[in-house]
């Protein structure tokens, strides 16, 4: 079977998904994990787009619309994740006028 560009990009997308998955498990830092989720999402988007080239010369607009929606969803969740990360870091840092409870930050 001849490798068409869409297949090549599809495989790349799947590879990106797997790389992101690996980093999500191994990354020691939360920011790294959020980056990993973003890379996974990009991989899936690339994969979805190649489905638009399924048959013949017509390009299917439905996967393209799906990806556009997906990009907006992903930026929204990234913003939430980053805001949460900043909040966690701020809470872990003891405010100057309050003694830090040691075990509090480690729970959960």
């Amino acid at each position: 079977m001849a490798l068409s560009p869409s297949l090549l990009y599809g495989l790349t997308g799947l590879m990106l998904f797997v790389i992101g998955l690996a980093a999500l498990f191994t990354s020691p830092q939360l920011l790294g994990k959020i980056l990993a989720v973003n890379i996974m999402a990009s991989g899936i988007f690339l994969f979805l787009i190649t489905l638009a080239h399924g048959s013949g010369t017509l390009i299917d607009p439905v996967p393209q619309a799906m990806v556009l929606t997906g990009i907006v969803v992903s930026v929204s969740s990234t913003a939430v994740a980053l805001a949460l990360l900043c909040r966690i870091e701020a809470a872990a840092r003891p405010p100057a006028h309050l003694p830090k409870k040691k075990d509090e930050a480690r729970q959960g």
């Binding site: 959020i34 996967p63 969740s77 809470a91």
Partner: protein, 487 residues
């Protein structure tokens, strides 16, 4: 409104009303509680109309934008979907009434009310948006639309989890968010493979035509793993207890009673076609069995009441999956058992979490060994907690009993003895940890002095109403079962 020629409009209202409510609560910050209650009641009303319509007229279908699938998106209201919408409506109304009292009590009890006011202002729009997303999830007939609804559910749940602002709840919410995103993305990849295999996004077509070709198997596996992550089935349960136990009291109830049901329901939707069920239906059942045992042991060894209730959710999720091999034949009793577990767990668990939240607010802690005497102080909540426990254990005449009865009798008729055994053993284990909590709550320890009651009456009575409903579900079983027959 005039009598509309499109008679299926009642399907969309349970989604539109809470969406509108969320925006109104977001815009109208002065009295979000009032707007929240109003829209919760209206949502409950439209959901009841939906349930009644399905019961009397059969399956309904609403073609959004007037385009029929595969081009457009359709909403489909059949028996199971209507039952889940009704479950969300009833439990949601109880939680809404509780939340009103909860925020009122906290605002009255603390002079530092700026933070509490901000919490409440965020709570109402998030809760209504979550409600809308759940209803959208139950009714949606399009798998990409389901992905968006799942993301809405996940983000609003995370938003609700972080409201308490405590560091443990923040860390738990972060883990919850990452797991949720992983689950959604896995689901989305599965959606891609389904689209590749079938050329359509319509759920009804996809779940019927589960021919075991490689792309379909891969798609189903990805979708299932994504949904199991979100439902917190056994090996993926690690994120649930801290997230559920550290949230605000009404939020714990929302997460445990309703949110996990959304992804579980989708799991059922994808598997209900049955093609692959005979071959691999045993996998969710085995994971569910381990979850029942493991969750019960973990629940027993907890020191905090809310953690105990949260681990009990891990165990009860096991029951939601254990009956999947019973779905193979079309008699429908396996399905009835599954859905009965879902609705009775929803009422019982909401009641227990709400009662535990009441104890927490009154006492300032939820250490199980120091709960003695709370019965005297909060008799209604204590009774609600105990009644919820009765339904979890599956004692007659509760809804939990009906569910276990259906499960065991169906398993025996299919010669799946181990499954029946697991259900019975699970009941025993549930009894052990429920007794541990209930004996502490109900212990006849007399208080020397009666502290001032800081919790509103509506907090106690709404929990009791839900607990009573969990019991009554056993007596009025014919009604939900009749609704389930509409497919």
């Amino acid at each position: 409104m005039n009598l509309s020629p499109d008679s299926s409009a009642w399907i969309i209202w349970p989604v539109v009303v809470p969406l509108l409510g969320a925006v109104v609560c977001f815009l109208y910050k002065k009295k979000p509680r009032l707007a929240g209650h109003f829209f919760a009641v209206v949502t409950c009303g439209t959901s009841t109309v939906l349930g009644w319509q399905v019961l009397s007229q059969g399956v309904g279908r609403h073609l959004l934008g007037g385009w029929s699938p595969p081009l457009g998106i359709s909403l489909r209201a059949d028996g199971p979907a209507a039952l889940m919408v009704m479950m969300t409506a009833v439990t949601g109304l109880g939680i809404t009434l509780y939340s009103g009292g909860y925020f009122q009590s906290r605002l009255a009890g603390d002079s530092q009310d700026h933070r509490f006011r901000a919490q409440e202002q965020s709570f109402w729009p998030l809760w209504l948006l979550l409600w809308a997303a759940l209803n959208g999830l139950f009714l949606s007939g399009d798998i990409f639309n389901i992905y968006i609804s799942l993301e809405l559910v996940a983000l609003s749940s995370v938003g609700l989890t972080v409201l308490s602002g405590k560091p443990p709840s923040l860390v738990a919410a972060m883990r919850y968010l990452l797991v949720s995103l992983l689950g959604s993305l896995t689901f989305l990849l599965g959606v891609g493979f389904f689209y590749k295999a079938h050329g359509t996004l319509e759920l009804a077509v996809i779940s019927k035509a589960l021919a075991p070709t490689p792309p379909v198997i891969m798609a189903l596996a990805l979708v299932s793993v994504g949904l199991m992550l979100k439902t917190a089935l056994f090996p993926f349960h690690f994120w649930l207890p801290p997230a559920h136990a550290n949230a605000l009291a009404p939020v714990s109830a929302i997460l445990s009673a309703l949110v996990i049901k959304g992804s579980w329901y989708l799991f059922y939707r994808f598997w209900q076609g049955g093609g692959l069920l005979a071959a691999v239906g045993i996998v969710p059942a085995l994971l569910g069995s381990v979850a029942i045992i493991w969750g019960a042991f973990q629940a027993f060894s907890q020191q905090r009441l809310k953690m105990l209730v949260a681990y009990s959710t891990v165990a009860q999720i096991g029951y939601l999956f254990v009956a999947f091999p019973l779905l193979v034949d079309s008699a429908g009793q396996g399905r009835d058992a599954l859905f009965y577990f879902a609705i009775s767990h929803s009422c019982a668990k909401a009641a227990m979490f709400l009662a535990a939240g009441t104890f927490f607010l009154q006492l300032g802690h939820d250490r199980i060994r120091d709960l003695a005497g709370v019965r005297q102080l909060l008799p209604v909540s204590s009774f609600a907690f105990a009644l919820g426990g009765v339904s979890l254990m599956g004692l007659p005449p509760s809804g939990g009993f009906i569910a276990k009865y259906l499960l065991v009798s169906k398993a025996i008729s299919q010669d799946l003895w181990w499954l029946a055994l697991i259900a019975v053993v699970g009941s025993g284990l549930t009894a052990v940890y429920v007794f541990r909590a209930v004996s502490s709550v109900l212990s006849p320890h007399l208080l020397e002095e009666r502290p001032l009651l800081v919790v509103a009456a509506s907090m106690q009575w709404s929990a009791l109403a839900l607990a009573l409903l969990a019991i009554v579900l056993g007596i009025m079983a014919p009604l939900p079962l009749a609704l389930l027959e509409v497919t």
